[in-house]
């Protein structure tokens, strides 16, 4: 029983990170209709910057703020300098450019920060809470992760549902021409979308790094599982992304604990295929997925 609870808790902690990452994918999808494969590499890059700051200041929180600021700048920069040049009607081109960015950024991170394993400090304690005589796999650091994901989720929902900026962003993404005719500064909205998405991605990067090891490719599994989580929830739905992320975390933890760790990548793939076969628009999307 304790094993089941602990496996479940480990899965939820991991799932919260997948959720944060899936939220970034959802955000950029809603704001620009592009799936950003470079998200993970961008996050790894900003996490390295955070690590430098944490090591020199000794404060995890200053490191987090650095990563978030760097993510904001990096996201806006990538949109302005690279993605915009591919053109507004070339969605496949934009996706391929993000793949290229993924490889280039990862290589750049290895050149700048070195390719070896480095440990990343945790925001708070790494010892599980004790309930009487048993210790459960829930740590103060995990609570911070979960709290951060909840804040981002609420923030995103509020942004898209209750603010003018959110409405403009959705309009720009849905039909740039019409939005422009109606007076929406479409270019600025796209830049904002990329910047916000990169910010959320950076948050996921720092959260998963805390109390674990980082190396230039450490986000690779998060990219795959976060992507599956986003598809699971429907690329359009922030709530769906969070549920999808938590579900992925729990499913993979149960597979590791009770079946075998070598089946984890296969399990992620199986979930992806099952979702695409049974409900291609995702579990929570209200509109049908666009066929491309």
């Amino acid at each position: 029983m304790l094993q089941f609870v602990n496996t479940l808790l480990t899965g939820l902690g991991q799932g919260a990170v997948y959720a944060a990452f899936a939220l970034a994918l959802v955000l950029i999808w809603r704001a620009t209709r592009v799936v950003n494969f470079a998200q993970g590499a961008m996050a790894a890059f900003t996490t390295y910057l955070a690590l430098l700051v944490v090591e020199s200041t000794g404060s995890w929180w200053v490191g987090l703020l650095t990563a978030l600021a760097a993510g904001l700048v990096l996201g806006a920069g990538v949109e302005r300098v690279v993605v915009r040049r591919v053109g507004p009607h070339n969605e496949l081109g934009a996706v391929i450019v993000t793949l290229g960015l993924f490889v280039a950024l990862q290589a750049l991170a290895a050149i700048l920060f070195g390719a070896q394993f480095r440990s990343f400090p945790a925001p708070a304690g790494l010892e599980g809470f004790a309930l009487g005589s048993v210790t459960i796999a829930l740590t103060p650091s995990m609570l911070i992760t979960v709290g951060a994901v909840a804040v981002v989720l609420l923030g995103l929902v509020a942004l898209f549902r209750f603010t003018d900026v959110g409405l403009r962003m959705r309009a720009s993404a849905f039909d740039g021409e019409v939005a422009r005719l109606l007076g929406v500064p479409v270019g600025r909205m796209l830049t904002l979308g990329w910047a916000l998405a990169a910010l959320v991605g950076s948050l996921a990067g720092v959260l998963i790094a805390g109390g674990s090891l980082v190396w230039p490719a450490y986000m690779d599994t998060v990219i795959v599982n976060g992507f599956v989580a986003a598809v699971l929830g429907g690329l359009d739905s922030p709530g769906g992304a969070v549920v999808g992320g938590l579900a992925m975390g729990v499913i993979l933890a149960l597979v590791t604990g009770y079946v075998g760790s070598d089946l984890v990548p296969l399990a992620a793939l199986a979930v992806l295929v099952a979702v695409l076969l049974v409900r291609p628009q995702g579990l929570f999307a209200r509109t049908a997925a666009r066929r491309v």
Binding site: L2, Q3, N6, T7, T10, G11, G13, Q14, E55, G58, W60, V82, R85, V86, G87, N90, G93, I96, V97, G100, L101, V103, A104, A107, L108, A110, I111, A115, Q116, F117, S119, F120, P121, A122, G125, L126, E127, G128, A130, T135, A137, T139, G211, S212, L213, W215, A217, Y218, D220, T221, L252, A253, L254, T256, G257, Y258, G260, S261, D262, V264
Partner: protein, 446 residues
């Protein structure tokens, strides 16, 4: 139209940049053509009257680089020292090592280049099971002596199939046998859990462990390298009430198991294999996880592992003192580490083998000399090699130790054994004295 062309040009440019970067990662190697290095009676490729060229491959970048990338710097320092003392029979050793990033595809590339382009006489200490496994056929077909592979896999002991390949360190099976035998006699009541890397490291180890602990094992958990979430495996070990866990894993996973144990308040007696147990490296990974909340090696204190080479932190050992002098003279200014001692010991082993091959070594002569005299080659290693014409396995034993702080304490004498059901006995060879200048003399009486 113009715009789309520009887009295409930019895309091509970006792709070009990506490819160039990827190329840098791989070392930008052209595919070498064929030719050169073919073995026919008495090949003297790579050896002249005043030089001998030796090549190797190591992960200098990537996930396997921490620690392991220091090994060739030790070997290089040792060869520089030997060269400064006149070389081997008047020949200076020219040592070339290349980065394969622990990627078998890149290993094939760099070893191709070493053999066909650089025309090395022999390969020495190539690191890694999947990586070196990828070049066995090639080296065998080219007749290149493939000495002292830096891995405990059983693959290197196939003299029929790979007549030029020789292992070096105690293989994972005998290492596991020696550790398991110690556990069975010292902790007969322990409920034993296993934490194994999900490849032949884990398989070879499990075979050795089960010979002594089959009835005591309560749970076997495996991890896939690259997946750092090992929470579920640790929960399973805890749920099975394993109070002693034997880990055959790489150093970063030693750090992760300790961290996860902290999370679950799960503190069994840990027994790690030599490959994952360097307290300095693991301690440095652990120390910074939580801004000092986890203090350095404190978590590792009391864990059990094994050793077959002198330790860097033990200057009272005559071999360590000698290696320290060599490192001070020819090192890169960094600290003398256990990994560098590993590399220097391999350099020592190579010089010894080359001397045994006589004044005018050929590739065939070198292989024959090791098969003929290998069991009598002595050096810094704790137990003799098992080299004969029918067996190419390396060091035959190790001593079980307990980690105390950054150092270790021996828990008994050096134990030696062989694969399969060979018994485990105390070593009879005793410690090998350091030869003058730390350079081996030509073995006599072969």
């Amino acid at each position: 139209m113009r715009r789309s062309r520009r887009v295409r040009a930019l895309t091509a440019l970006a792709l070009g940049a990506v490819l160039a970067l990827a190329g840098c990662g791989a070392g930008g190697r052209p595919d070498p053509g064929s030719g050169g290095g073919a073995a026919s009676g008495g090949s003297t490729v790579g050896i002249t009257a005043d030089s001998v060229k030796v090549g190797s491959h190591f992960p200098l970048t990537g996930v396997a680089a921490p620690g392991y990338s220091e090994i060739p710097t030790g070997t290089k320092a040792y060869f520089d020292w030997v060269n400064a003392h006149g070389g081997v029979n008047g020949r200076k050793i020219d040592y070339v090592f290349r980065d394969d990033a622990y990627n078998p595809t890149q290993t094939s590339q760099v070893v191709n280049e070493l053999v066909l382009q650089d025309q090395v006489f022999a390969i020495l200490g190539g690191l890694g099971t999947p990586t070196h496994g990828a070049v066995l056929d090639f080296l065998g077909a080219e007749g290149v002596p493939d000495l002292f592979v830096s891995s405990g896999s059983l693959l290197w002991d196939q003299p029929r199939k790979y007549p030029t390949t020789f292992g070096w360190q105690p293989d994972y099976e005998i290492e596991a046998k020696i550790l398991a035998d110690h556990v069975a006699t010292t902790f007969p009541q322990a409920r034993v859990g296993l934490f194994l890397q999900n490849d032949d490291v884990g398989e070879d180890a499990e075979r050795g462990i089960r010979r002594y602990l089959d009835k005591q094992i309560v749970s076997v958990q495996r991890y896939t390298p690259g997946n750092t979430d090992i929470g579920p495996q640790m929960s399973a070990l805890q749920a099975a009430n394993a109070d002693l866990v034997i880990g055959f894993n790489v150093p970063s996973y030693t750090a992760l198991t300790q961290l996860q144990g902290l999370k679950l308040n799960y503190r069994p007696q840990w027994v790690y294999s030599n490959i994952g147990a360097d307290p300095v490296l693991v301690g440095s990974l652990l120390g910074r996880f939580s801004q000092g909340q986890v203090t350095d090696a404190a978590l590792l204190d009391g864990m059990i592992t094994d050793e077959y080479l002198p330790r860097a932190d033990n200057p009272s050992d005559a071999w360590t003192a000698q290696f320290d002098a060599i490192w001070k003279a020819h090192g890169d200014g960094g600290a003398l580490t256990n990994f560098r001692i590993f590399g220097m010991s391999q350099g020592y082993a190579f010089v010894q083998a080359l001397l045994a091959a006589g004044p005018n070594p050929t590739r065939e002569g070198l292989v024959q000399a090791i098969e003929k005299g290998g069991t009598r080659f002595a050096g810094p290693w704790a137990a003799p090699y098992r080299f004969t014409a029918d067996k190419h396995s390396g060091i035959s034993g190790a001593k079980v130790v307990r980690v105390t702080g950054d150092s270790t304490t021996a828990l008994g004498p050096v134990r030696v054994t062989d694969n399969g059901d060979a018994p485990i006995t105390d070593a009879t060879n005793g410690e090998t004295p350091v030869p003058p200048n730390g350079i081996p003399a030509a073995p006599g009486g072969t």
